[in-house]
Symmetry: C2
Subunit: 337 residues, 2 copies
């Protein structure tokens, strides 16, 4: 769930290209976010929200809503509102996630639950979630409300499922897919789908936008799961090991454990189930994942989802918006080496 890194070889990086195409609307989204996270009575709310929102995540999700609406030729203003809704829902889940995971860092800064406290993070998350629904109601579309309330339920369900699969090596790939569809792809899919809905395009195109968001979100999360073990290269990067330390049973773990012998299984049980982790264990986990092809195959799965996202755009008009959405779907997995 980290922001997409922007450094790539070549002229304009894919994320910057997409960002540039919706820059004017994004400025309106930012203004709306600032206006709506205010609270007359409880100044701690904007303080915490600003800490997180102004920290400058890449805002990929709201950008997707704007881009999807524009790809459909939308000419109104509700995409700005809905982009703010999507960012509020995302920020609310980040606040609650940090409480759930006991995180100390978020977007390169101390997490809100550390700077303030867990109660504040829980309640400000609730506030942003309620604010998101208020903004949705202003758009006046019951269908949009349906899509985003369903997404919210799936997100929460995915998070609970992740909690109960942590440390559980019996988690299989379908169950894992449910977890990441909930924790990541559901909001991506809703973000792009509502762009098509407010533009009033025909149903196959709405479904295609949803499929695009789902594919992109799955690719994004699977790539992240690979990056958490340093990618497929031999070197361990500096931002690795969070999933490992938390005993999360991600696809690389599932594959490596499945493909290992009894000794390997004993290793995975010790570090993931018992969370008995010693110096060198992360490097050993990574080596086992490389040797069994677990990282490469997870990345291949990520690329398949990215390809599905690209394919879903096939019936939309060619042009710079479709090109930018295509490139970002390739880029989310290409950032992994």
């Amino acid at each position: 769930m980290n922001p997409v890194p922007s450094k790539t070889a070549g002229a304009v990086a894919p994320f910057e290209m997409l960002q540039g195409l919706v820059a004017a609307e994004m400025a309106e989204v930012n203004a709306l976010i600032r206006a709506r996270m205010a609270s007359e009575h409880a100044p701690r709310i904007p303080a915490i929200s600003a800490h997180l929102i102004e920290a400058g995540g890449k805002r990929l999700r709201p950008i997707l809503t704007l881009a999807a609406a524009k790809l459909c030729g939308y000419g109104g203003t509700d995409h700005v509102r809905l982009a703010a809704v999507v960012e509020f829902i995302h920020t609310a889940t980040l606040l609650h996630d940090d409480v759930v995971d006991g995180s100390e860092q978020r977007r390169g800064r101390k997490a809100a639950n550390i700077l303030w406290d867990n109660p504040s993070s829980v309640l400000v998350g609730d506030y942003l979630f309620a604010r998101a629904f208020q903004l949705m109601v202003e758009c006046g579309s019951l269908r949009v409300l349906d899509i985003l309330s369903n997404a919210s339920a799936v997100i929460a369900e995915g998070e609970v499922l992740q909690l109960t699969t942590a440390g559980d090596l019996t988690t299989d790939l379908p169950r894992y897919a449910q977890v990441i569809r909930g924790k990541t792809a559901a909001l991506f899919a809703a973000a792009t789908e509502v762009g098509g809905v407010i533009a009033g395009v025909e149903e196959p195109k709405v479904a295609a936008l949803r499929a695009y968001g789902d594919g992109l979100g799955m690719a994004f999360q699977l790539a992240d799961d690979v990056l958490d073990y340093g990618g497929t290269a031999a070197d361990l990067g500096k931002n690795t090991g969070d999933d490992f330390r938390e005993g999360k049973v991600t696809m690389p773990v599932i594959l490596a454990a499945e493909r290992g012998d009894a000794e390997a299984l004993a290793f995975w049980k010790r570090v993931i189930v018992k969370r008995d982790q010693r110096e060198g264990d992360l490097a050993e986990a990574q080596a086992r994942m490389r040797e069994t092809g677990a990282l490469a195959d997870t990345l291949a799965e990520a690329r398949a989802h990215g390809a599905a996202a690209v394919a879903a755009l096939g019936d939309f008009p060619e042009g710079e918006m479709r090109r930018a959405l295509t490139e970002i779907a390739v880029f989310v997995t290409d950032r992994v080496s």
Copy 2:
């Protein structure tokens, strides 16, 4: 926020009277709640929800939605859905409250955050909140969505405000009123208002139902704040002192501190601001509240809100439903002696 106790002198207690008038619909609400708290993928969700919901709170809030709709002659089925929505929102806030307050007990059972853990309580609360919005969308009324999303924002704002006023003796009565309007009265007001909205009654009646819910909620919370110090009688009951231990600055504290001399102020600063509490301090706090009239005046304020609730029903047809709603508004303060 405790359930309303039902034991009174006389034939049928007010709560049982109200409950009896909506018993058939309430059975449907309970069935709907059970159906919608299920989660195919994450069995911990129904386990936690059931723990809390089946514990048998009195379900005053959903009963109010049913009663308000029936008072308006409503003949449809959406009041059942909305009653379930109201109970889901209430349960979600209870789950999050227990995390925020570090509570160990809820509805006479161990709190979910103790039986499971804080992360589960946070995420299952989020799930129930999302489920509530899904159910609302099914009713198809943007106005109902507006009312309940506004209420959700005010609830969260009130909880954050309560967090920041805890231990803050500079909290004045208007600020305190905002806290309890948020934490309690907002959901009561929304619960009764939506009953009128779906029944399609004219605007003054919708406003009157909202005023009824607000008055009842304020009376209920103020009476609770008095009960937390054992009521106005000399004896300390057994369920007292939670607010005191948490350093909550409720109306009895504000009045007692305002009306005391320098020595009294020093006492309140020690026990509420510094939370330096010793044996006998709760009894001393209660004595100071009795001597300054702080408890009696808080109860008087509660009764004034109850009376406003009763007055708001003036234009509704006389009959057993109006009588039951009137009696419950009197009863919530009469239970305090």
